[in-house]
């Protein structure tokens, strides 16, 4: 089994901790407790016959003034950028993070998650908002930490991208 580091990056309260908790323990909570520092969780996935132990780094989502500490991102094999589909401005914030991070990690696979898709009535993002991400080669997926929708798929897909990039290189 191989071990790979994956980092979740995004503005505060977009649901990074909730996504990881749902993926690792299958639990969701309505309560919000902002993350300080780093917490690492593990879960293995199997893609294309290869078992991969994902070391999932939950990074504190800061406000518009503070980007994520770059040293945390060292050695990451994949990024899950997270925005809250019910808060359009979190998309702009994740875009800023991407602009800071991707140049240092040009080959590292990344997926953008639009979380909280269970809150349909409050949804603020449409396809045209995602164009710039697609142009930058970042796939997007719509997820819900509450219902679990697309979470395993997102981690699987990211792992697939990581593996194929490694074997292609």
């Amino acid at each position: 089994m191989i071990k790979r580091k994956v980092c979740l990056v995004g503005a505060y309260a977009v649901g990074k901790t909730s996504l990881i908790r749902q993926f690792v323990t299958g639990v969701f909570s309505e309560d919000y407790l902002t993350t300080v520092g780093v917490k690492i969780d593990k879960r293995s996935v199997t893609v294309e016959g290869q078992e991969v132990l994902l070391m999932i780094w939950d990074l504190a989502g800061r406000d518009e003034f503070e980007a994520v500490q770059k040293s945390y991102l060292r050695g990451a094999s994949g990024f899950l950028f997270v925005a809250d589909g019910t808060r359009r401005d979190t998309l702009a914030e994740v875009q800023k993070e991407i602009a800071l991070i991707v140049p240092d990690h040009p080959e590292t696979p990344a997926i953008l998650l639009l979380n909280k898709c269970d809150l349909e009535n409050d949804w603020e993002v449409d396809d045209s908002d995602l164009l710039s991400f697609h142009e930058a080669g970042i796939e997007t997926m719509v997820t819900s930490a509450m219902t679990g929708q697309n979470i395993a798929e997102a981690f699987d897909q990211l792992t697939r991208l990581m593996i194929s990039r490694e074997s292609g290189a």
Binding site: K5, Y12, A13, Y32, L33, T34, V36, G37, V38, K39, I40, K42, M55, A60, D63, Q69, S71, Y72, R74, G75, R87, D122
Partner: protein, 394 residues
């Protein structure tokens, strides 16, 4: 600093080293030292002094710490290693806070005493030895957590409120346009029908009833719209957008002339005592609605042929307009509740929704002012609207 740490390395037998080690232990700091040229595995790290009790439970034995803690492993073999091996530029490299899960499964996770948040620092002695400090950081985390939590929750709440207000704005437009405008048209049509039915008294009175009902509906729609609008005026903070501050005296004068016909119907005399201009904080449209509410209220409660006095004043940075009537005054029990919504006392009753005075109070308070009411000794009620004087920001 570097010298002392160098001296404190195990095996030195230096007295200072043991004092230092004891002091470090008492604050819960774990100090590990690695000799230069060792491999990268953590086995080469040696603890200085005695390890604190919690270390085994939370990070495992010093020899397997890195196996247990992926964060520490990432730091020691990543950024810290680069720091130790690289040119001596910085004195210290900090890892940032991390949360650990217990190394042994029989840990009481609710135990208050054991730390579970840590920060590591990489240092270098003068002789090039790698030093790793591990510091329990629960207290610091608690403080940072409390602060960030409150900032984030505040921002989320504010956002939520703004969204609610936008929804209200839409609702307000529905009320005024989709409900209010058709009613106004209906009223016009009914009035026209009434004129054409002048010679048919029975139908005529039915149409008059319909007119009165429609008027009541329209006034209710207007009142609801006003209360909604007042809520939103708060968020918009008047004059912040550079809009001109209204002159209380001039706005009152406009409203007075608009109310002239209502006063004349009851032979009520309006007696204004104008002063020089009094620019106030507020929005002109809402301010005239506010004064309009107070004036109509006074006229409504005036006996036939009475007078309504309007005075202006200023004091302590506030401007005031006072509306006095010669009616029966307000029930003492009502004084407390007269500005509450849907109070059907003086404010309501005669075909009124009971929202007019509520709107006045809400709006005035939103702009930093207030509305006061009392009964005049000589009879009748007296309403005072106080608003902050507007001062242009220079």
């Amino acid at each position: 600093m570097n010298r002392e740490l160098d001296n404190s390395a195990p095996g030195d037998g230096d007295e200072l080293a043991s004092i230092l080690a004891e002091g470090i232990r008492s604050i819960g700091l774990v100090v590990l030292v690695r000799n230069p040229g060792d491999g990268v595995s953590d086995e080469s790290f040696e603890i200085v002094g005695r390890a604190p009790d919690w270390l085994g439970t939370w990070l495992g034995a010093e020899t397997s710490m890195l196996e247990h803690s992926p964060f520490l492993e990432d730091f020691v073999n990543g950024a810290a290693r680069e720091f130790w091996d690289g040119p001596a530029s910085e004195n210290v490299l900090r890892s940032g806070l991390w949360e650990e899960s217990p190394a042994s499964s029989d840990v009481d996770e609710t135990s208050e005493t054991a730390p579970r948040f840590f920060e590591a620092s990489a240092l270098r002695t003068a002789s090039g030895k790698a030093v790793l400090l591990i510091e329990p950081a629960d207290e610091r985390l608690k403080r940072e957590q409390a602060y960030l939590q409150s900032v984030h929750v505040l921002n989320l709440d504010r956002r939520h409120l703004q969204k609610e207000l936008e929804k209200k704005q839409i609702l307000l437009e529905c009320i005024t346009h989709d409900l209010g405008s058709p009613l106004a048209n209906e009223l016009k049509n009914l009035e026209q029908i009434a004129r054409q039915l002048a010679d048919q008294p029975q139908l005529q009175s039915a149409v008059q009833r319909a007119i009165r009902q429609t008027e009541r509906q329209r006034s209710l729609v207007n009142s609801i719209a006003e209360v909604f609008a007042a809520d939103m005026a708060k968020m918009r903070s008047p004059n912040a957008d550079g809009s001109e501050a209204p002159d209380l005296v001039a706005v009152a004068a406009e409203v007075l002339s608009a109310c002239a016909s209502s006063a004349a119907e009851k032979s009520v005399t309006l007696c204004p005592f104008f002063t020089s201009p009094l620019p106030v904080v507020g929005d002109k449209v809402y301010l005239s609605r506010l004064i309009d509410n107070l004036l109509l209220n006074a006229i409504r409660h005036s006996p036939e042929g009475a007078a309504v006095m309007i005075h202006f004043d200023e004091k302590d940075g506030f401007a005031m307009v006072r509306v006095e009537d010669e009616g029966s005054g307000i029930d003492p029990e009502e004084v407390e509740t007269i500005f509450d919504p849907f109070v059907q006392g003086r404010a309501g009753g005669k075909g009124q929704s009971g929202l007019g005075l509520y709107f006045c109070r809400r709006t005035a308070e939103m702009w930093g002012g207030r509305v006061e009411v009392w009964n005049r000794p000589e009879g009748g009620a007296c309403f005072e609207l106080w608003l902050p004087r507007f001062r242009a920001v220079i």
